[in-house]
């Protein structure tokens, strides 16, 4: 081997090391699923060729630690609803979030909707996810679940929208009609938390759509995170003192998950930092994933 070849080979190895070792791979109906392990971190990846997107990671040595900042940010919803007795989570991923919430609120009814049965199996097999009497998973399209639940009169104190494919959020889960159906599931004072990206033209459309359904909402961004978490409450948003008081009360419980909740309130603001002339997404008009690449 020439020196160049040796270098090239070594570099291949180093790339392999960065993405981690693939310990499980399966094709499901909806995506190519990979489990990658790098050191103690084990990640669920919905593989889309090279720009693989890690959906969920957990630390095998310290399973409580929430690895991803966007998942930690999702706990920000608790600042508006510190004692939820019923929670709906759309999108299971590795199950980190439902497991943590089940730990924090052992008697809260938690429903998780996940479209892909393979993701549920993988979460159980590789991420220690376990359903129980309070924590249940429905393998179903979230739009169907939510429409049905709304008709049956179900109510939730906290709804977390975190449905991601390898690409982005499915288009029929971003429209005004979907968000209205979700809003109708909220109990008095109920809160919606939605995990989104903050890049691309879609940000403007998505923000305008949430505004159309929920009016003002907290646009939660952390420095150095490409994620934006929307926190909305139809009953109105609390003031800074209430947020900080709730953060102090929540801090001891969230500490072991690595969630620095007390640093969140100062980043919760309602300033519209997007193009407010952008059209809203509807069931009639939702070219969402085409906008994502702009």
């Amino acid at each position: 081997m020439s020196r160049v070849q040796v270098l090239a080979f070594a570099c291949l190895l180093c790339i392999g090391d960065v993405t981690g070792e693939v310990i499980h791979r399966e094709k499901s109906l909806y995506q190519n699923i990979e489990i990658q392990q790098r050191g103690d971190d084990r990640c669920l990846v919905f593989a889309v060729r090279r720009d693989d997107r890690r959906q969920s990671c957990f630390d095998t040595e310290n399973p409580d630690r929430v690895v991803f900042s966007y998942v930690r940010m999702t706990f920000g919803g608790l600042l508006l609803q510190p004692k939820p007795s019923s929670i709906l989570i759309v999108g299971l991923g590795g199950g980190t979030l439902p497991t943590a919430l089940n730990d924090l609120y052992p008697t809260a009814k938690i429903d998780v909707v996940e479209i892909d049965a393979a993701v549920v199996r993988v979460a159980e097999g590789f991420f220690n996810f376990k359903a129980n009497d309070y924590l249940k998973v429905a393998v179903q399209d979230a739009r169907v679940f939510i429409k049905r639940a709304a008709r049956l009169g179900s109510r939730y104190d906290l709804v977390i929208l975190d449905a991601f494919t390898g690409e982005y959020i499915p288009e029929h889960l971003m429209t005004r009609e979907f968000l209205s159906e979700t809003r109708s599931l909220l109990s008095e004072g109920g809160v919606v938390v939605a995990n989104t990206f903050s890049s691309s033209e879609l940000y403007d459309y998505e923000s305008q759509t949430y505004k159309a359904v929920f009016n003002e909402f907290f646009n939660f961004k952390l420095p150095a995170s490409g994620n934006r978490v929307i926190i909305a409450r139809p009953a109105g948003l609390p003031d800074r003192e209430t947020l900080e008081a709730n953060a102090r009360a929540l801090a001891p419980g969230l500490n072991r998950f690595g969630v620095a909740i007390e640093s969140f309130p100062k980043y919760l603001n309602t300033r519209a930092d997007w193009d407010q002339t952008a059209p809203i997404l509807t069931d009639q008009f939702s070219p969402a994933n085409l906008l994502k690449n702009r």
Binding site: L29, D141, R148, Q284
Partner: protein, 212 residues
């Protein structure tokens, strides 16, 4: 009208309208696939966008087209003419209208009646898409009959028609998924297709009048 003409007379008459038939066959191919693709979007709010929703849509389109081929072929036996051909387009246009105006009511009723989204989406697809797709399917065999003047070239004519209408389908699929959904509301796209079908049907009927 074509009554009272011999088969030979009919055939010479039809020979000269080949370009029109090809154009209309292209149009119907375009619209079939455009509607099929929009079908996924139309059903998603009630039944999701899982693989079974596509399964429902595609299978209903196939069955509807199959029925359309059968009926269109049967109707082409006696006195094939552009007037009846144009009528297929007009009826297909009317058949698309319920998708624009009653889709939500229909899907709402199905959603309430059937829990399993597989059978829900199958029934909803049938209600919404079967009739217009069958009507559009009738166009294909009838086009063949309008253009065939002897058995020797029948295969070639059918091949040419399949070529044109399948290219139309490809373009309908591509334009709808790449651009139309980015530019327009779904109902705007559907209404435009209704208008195009009405125009196509009127054109065929007008030519039929002119030539008889």
């Amino acid at each position: 009208m074509v009554y009272g003409m011999s088969d030979e007379q009919i055939d010479t008459k039809l020979e000269r309208i080949g370009w029109l038939v090809l154009l209309l066959a292209f149009t119907s191919g375009f619209i079939i696939m455009s509607v099929e693709l929009l079908g996924g979007r139309i059903l998603a709010p009630y039944f999701g966008s899982s693989i079974y929703v596509w399964g429902s849509i595609i299978s209903i389109f196939m069955v509807a087209l199959a029925m359309g081929y059968l009926i269109g072929g049967r109707l082409s036996i006696n006195r094939p003419n552009l007037g009846l051909y144009g009528l297929f387009f007009l009826l297909a246009a009317i058949g698309l209208l319920p998708i624009v105006f009653f889709a939500d009511n229909a899907m709402d009723a199905v959603f309430s009646a059937i829990d399993d989204p597989r059978y829900g989406s199958l029934l909803a697809s049938t209600l919404l898409f079967f009739i217009p797709t069958a009507l559009l399917g009738m166009i294909a065999p009838y086009s063949v009959r309008l253009m065939v003047d002897n058995t020797r070239h029948s295969g070639q004519v059918a091949g040419g028609l399949y070529f044109v209408s399948t290219l139309g389908s490809a373009l309908g699929t591509l334009l709808t998924s790449f651009y139309l959904v980015l530019w327009f509301d779904m109902n705007t796209i559907l209404i435009t297709m209704v208008a195009v079908l009405l125009l196509a049907g009127s054109l065929a009927i007008a030519f039929n009048r002119k030539r008889s």
